[in-house]
C-alpha cells in the first residue's frame, strides 16, 4: 500500500491542522507511531523555537502550512489492465500521492473491465506497493455491455467499494433498477455516469452558442439531466445509495438538491475542470485536452456547480483523472478521446478557483476532498484523530506554481492547465505513516 520511504517522520510540527471530520482547526503537532496518528497536540503558543523544529530528527516543519487528512478521490481511471502505456496502477497512485491523495477509487472501464472477482483482486494485488490506497470500483453489468448484472457480491467481498458503468450510462432503466435493488444488501453505492447516449451521439462539446459558433456537434445539458432525474427516481423507488459522478450542469445540481430534500439517498461530485473551465475555452484553442465527458459547460453551469459545492447540494470533489496518450490526443478535436488528467492539479485548482476566489474556506474545501468522499464509499480514511491511520497531506496554501507537464508523475500529459499558475502546493504526503511524496 505505501511506497518504500527513505525518510521516517514522527512529528509533523507547527502546521495549521484542519480536520473537517472533527471540526478541528488549530495550530499544533501531529505525532505518528506505527503508521497511525498517535496524538495531536495543540499549541497555545509556539512551544518550540523555529531552530528546534528544524534540528530535531523525524520532525517535519509544517509551519505556515496546512496539515489535513490525506485527500480522497472517488473517481480515477488507472488504465490497467489494458492501456499500461497511458497509466498503470502504480504510476497513477504515484501521481495521486503527488497531488496529496492517500486514497483513490479506480473506475472499472479498463480492458478487460473490472467486472468480476478476479479483476478486482488483480487491481488490489497490483496496488500492494502503490503510493496510495487503491480501492476498485466494479462494473454494473458484465463487460459493461448493459445486459446482465456482474457478480456484485463476489466483487464486494474481494474489495470493490462501489459499482459503476462509468464512461456511459446503464441504458436500460430496468437493469439499473435491478442493480440498485441488489446493492442494498451490501451497503455500497452505485456511481452513475449520466448521459443519454441518443442525445449525446456524435457530440464533442456542450451544445450552446459556442458549439454553434464552431460548427461542432453539441451535447445538450438535457442528455445528462434526463439520466440524473431517472436515476434519482430509481433511487427513490429502491432506497439504494446513488452517487452522481462529475455533475456538469446547473439543472443536475438542482435535481440532486431536490432529491436530497425529499430524503433520497443521493450524493453528487464535481470535478476541478467543471468548476475551472467552460466551453468557451475550446473556441480559443481547439485544445483536445478540453474534450471531456461530460463536456465543459457554460459559465452559468460553472457557477451553479461552485454554489452546489458551497451549499451542500454536491458532496465531494473528484478528479475524473483520465489519462490518454499523446498520439490519441494530438489529433483533430472530433477524433480525440474524452478525458483529462487531474490528480496532480486538483488541490491547486481548489486553491485558485474555490478558496482564493472566495467561494469556500480551506476547512470547507477540504471537507469535500476528505471525509465527505470517504463516507460515500465507506472508506476508512478521511479524518485526523488518535488511532486513525496516518494518512496526511501537508500543503502550502499560499504557494503559487506553474503547471509543467514534465513534472507530472502520471504517464500521460493530457492536461489543459499546462502553463497555468495554481495556488496551493502539496509539500508532503504521508500514507499509513510512510512518506509517499515530498516536494523539495
Amino acid at each position: 500500500m505505501a511506497a518504500k520511504s527513505t525518510k521516517s517522520i514522527s512529528v509533523i510540527a507547527g502546521g495549521r491542522i484542519i480536520d473537517p471530520a472533527t471540526q478541528l482547526d488549530v495550530i499544533g503537532d501531529i505525532y505518528l507511531k506505527n503508521g497511525l496518528v498517535e496524538r495531536i497536540e495543540t499549541r497555545k503558543r509556539s512551544l518550540k523555537s523555529a531552530e528546534k523544529i528544524k534540528s530535531e530528527r523525524g520532525v517535519y516543519d509544517a509551519r505556515k502550512k496546512i496539515v489535513a487528512p490525506g485527500l480522497i478521490d472517488l473517481h480515477v481511471h488507472l488504465r490497467e489492465p489494458g492501456r499500461e502505456d497511458e497509466e498503470t496502477i502504480l504510476s497513477g497512485a504515484r501521481a495521486a500521492a503527488a497531488g496529496g491523495f492517500t486514497s483513490i477509487c479506480c473506475m472499472p472501464n479498463t480492458d478487460p473491465p473490472i467486472d468480476d472477482q478476479e479483476t478486482v483482486q488483480f487491481v488490489i494485488d497490483q496496488a500492494r506497493d502503490a503510493a496510495c490506497r487503491v480501492y476498485p470500483i466494479g462494473a454494473v453489468t458484465q463487460g459493461q455491455r448493459g445486459e446482465s448484472l456482474t457478480e456484485i457480491g463476489d466483487m464486494v467481498h474481494t474489495g470493490a467499494v462501489a459499482i459503476s458503468e462509468d464512461g456511459m450510462s446503464v441504458v436500460s432503466a430496468e437493469i439499473k433498477r435491478r442493480a440498485m435493488e441488489y446493492i442494498r444488501m451490501f451497503d455500497i453505492p452505485v456511481i452513475a455516469h449520466c448521459e443519454d447516449a441518443s442525445l449525446s451521439a456524435g457530440g464533442v462539446m456542450h451544445e450552446g452558442a459556442i458549439s454553434t459558433r464552431l460548427g461542432m456537434r453539441g451535447i445538450p445539458a438535457a442528455a445528462e439531466e434526463i439520466i440524473v432525474a431517472r436515476d434519482i427516481q430509481l433511487a427513490r423507488a429502491t432506497g439504494a445509495r446513488l452517487h452522481i459522478a462529475h455533475v456538469s450542469t446547473a439543472d443536475s445540481v438542482r435535481l440532486i438538491k431536490r432529491g436530497k430534500r425529499d430524503g433520497v439517498k443521493v450524493t453528487g461530485e464535481a470535478t476541478p475542470h467543471h468548476f475551472s473551465l467552460i466551453d468557451a475555452s475550446i473556441a480559443e484553442s481547439f485544445d483536445t485536452n478540453l474534450r471531456v465527458s461530460p463536456p465543459l459547460r457554460t459559465e452559468k453551469d460553472r457557477k451553479a456547480i461552485i454554489a452546489g459545492l458551497a451549499d451542500g447540494a454536491l458532496d465531494c470533489i473528484a478528479t475524473d483523472h483520465a489519462p490518454h496518450s499523446v498520439e490519441e490526443k494530438d489529433n483533430e478535436f472530433d477524433i480525440a478521446p474524452n478525458g483529462m488528467i487531474g490528480l496532480e492539479t486538483a488541490l491547486g485548482l481548489v486553491g485558485k478557483n474555490l478558496v482564493n476566489a472566495g467561494h469556500l474556506d480551506w476547512p470547507r474545501a477540504l471537507r469535500l476532498m476528505t471525509i465527505n468522499a470517504a463516507r460515500i464509499t465507506n472508506l476508512p480514511g478521511g479524518k485526523l484523530a488518535a488511532g486513525e491511520a496516518a494518512d496526511i497531506v501537508v500543503f502550502d496554501p499560499e504557494e503559487e506554481w506553474v503547471v509543467d507537464p514534465e513534472q507530472f508523475y502520471s504517464l500521460s500529459k493530457n492536461s489543459p492547465y499546462v502553463g497555468w499558475t495554481l495556488t496551493g502546493r502539496v509539500k508532503l504526503t504521508v500514507c499509513g505513516g510512510k512518506v509517499t511524496h515530498e516536494d523539495r
Binding site: E207, S211, T212, E327, E332
Partner: protein, 337 residues
C-alpha cells in the same frame, strides 16, 4: 446580372485605393486564412479590392499572372469537392504556382496516417501553402500547429468556409457597394452549414443585417449570439431583404430526425417565383451550389434575372486568387524570391 453604376463606381474607387495600397505593401493581419470570425473589416475590404483586379485578369485572353511563380501549393481535400477544388486549382494556376492536389476519403482518417504525419510528409517536399478541406471543425487550426506552411481553410466541417463567405460578400459588394445596413437572409440548413457561418461572421463585421431561416431542427441553439435574427417562416424572412442566400439541403437529412420529408421542406422553405415576386424585383438570389433544383429553389428562380449564382462562381476564382496573392506576401515577396 448586368453591371450597375455602383459597381463601376466601386471599381474605379477601388482601383485608386489599390494603387495606394500597393505602395504601402498592403498585408492581411493574419498569416493564414482560417475563418471570417474575428477577421477585421479592413482585411475583408483589402481582399475585395484585390479580387476586383484579379477579376479583370480573368477576362484577358491570357489569364495568367506571375506572382506565385516558384511557389508550391498543395490542395489537401479530405472531403469530396468539385467546384471548390477546381476553383482553388485554377486560382493557383492563374497565379503561376505549382499545384498538387490530393483527395482522400475520410473513412481512412481514423485508421490511417494522422493529419500531422500527412502534412509533415508533404511539407518535407518543400511546399509553401496548404489548402485544406476537412470534415472536422478546427482541422485547419490544427494544421497551423502542425506545420510551417501558410494554411487556407477550404471548409472545416460545419465551422467555416471563408473563401465562400468572401466570394458571397464580393458578389454582394459588386451590386450594392457598401453592405452597411443591407439585409441578407440565409435560408436552409444553418446547423450543418459552414457557408452560413462564414457569411454571418463576415456580413456582421461589415455592418449588414443578417437573418437566418429554416426549420428549428436545422437552426442551431444560440445562433442569435452571432448577431442574427431567426425566422421559421420563409415569406416573413424574405420580406424587406436585399439578398437571399439559399443553402443546399442535403438529401440525406430527410428520413433523419431533422426533416420529415424533402416534400414538406420544399413546401415550407423552397424559394419559388411567387415567393420571390412578393419579396420584390430587386432582391438578389444567391446559392453556394450545388443546387438541388426543385428542392430548395425552383429552376426558374435559379436561372432567373435575379439570380447571381454564376457570378458567384466567377467571383470565387477572383477571391481565391486575391487570398492566395495576399497571403503569399503580394508582389514584395515575389520580388524577394
Amino acid at each position: 446580372m448586368p453591371k450597375s453604376t455602383p459597381i463601376a463606381k466601386a471599381e474605379k474607387k477601388s482601383a485608386g485605393s489599390r494603387r495606394r495600397k500597393k505602395r504601402q505593401a498592403a498585408r492581411l493581419s493574419s498569416r493564414h486564412l482560417l475563418g471570417l470570425e474575428n477577421m477585421p473589416a479592413a482585411d475583408i475590404e483589402l481582399i475585395i479590392r484585390t479580387a476586383v483586379s484579379f477579376k479583370d485578369v480573368l477576362d484577358r485572353p491570357i489569364k495568367k499572372v506571375p506572382p506565385l511563380r516558384g511557389m508550391t501549393v498543395v490542395n489537401l481535400f479530405y472531403e469530396p469537392s468539385t467546384r471548390t477544388r477546381i476553383s482553388f486549382e485554377l486560382a493557383e494556376k492563374r497565379l503561376s504556382a505549382d499545384v498538387v492536389s490530393f483527395t482522400t476519403s475520410t473513412s481512412s482518417v481514423q485508421k490511417g496516417e494522422t493529419l500531422r504525419d500527412t502534412i509533415n510528409n508533404i511539407e518535407a517536399m518543400k511546399t509553401d501553402v496548404v489548402v485544406i478541406r476537412h470534415r472536422y471543425p478546427g482541422a485547419a487550426h490544427y494544421l497551423t500547429r502542425c506545420c510551417n506552411s501558410i494554411v487556407i481553410n477550404a471548409g472545416d466541417g460545419a465551422h467555416e468556409h471563408p473563401t465562400q463567405g468572401l466570394l458571397d460578400i464580393f458578389t454582394l459588394w459588386e451590386i450594392f457597394g457598401s453592405l452597411e445596413g443591407k439585409t441578407v437572409v440565409i435560408v436552409g440548413d444553418i446547423a450543418h452549414s459552414r457557408v452560413a457561418r462564414s457569411n454571418i461572421f463576415g456580413l456582421v463585421t461589415l455592418g449588414a443585417k443578417v437573418r437566418v431561416c429554416g426549420p428549428p431542427t436545422l437552426i442551431p441553439v444560440g445562433i442569435e449570439d452571432l448577431g442574427v435574427e431567426v425566422y421559421y417562416n420563409l415569406d416573413n424572412a424574405i420580406k424587406g431583404v436585399d439578398a437571399i442566400n439559399v443553402l443546399r439541403i442535403q438529401r440525406e437529412r430527410q428520413s433523419g430526425a431533422v426533416l420529415p420529408s424533402l416534400r414538406e421542406y420544399t413546401k415550407l422553405f423552397g424559394l419559388n417565383r411567387s415567393r420571390l415576386a412578393a419579396a420584390g424585383p430587386d432582391v438578389v438570389v444567391m446559392h453556394p451550389g450545388p443546387i438541388n433544383r426543385g428542392v430548395e429553389m425552383t429552376p426558374e428562380v435559379a436561372d432567373g434575372p435575379q439570380s447571381v449564382i454564376l457570378s458567384q462562381v466567377t467571383n470565387g476564382l477572383a477571391v481565391r486568387m486575391a487570398v492566395l496573392y495576399l497571403l503569399c506576401g503580394g508582389e514584395t515577396t515575389v520580388a524577394e524570391r
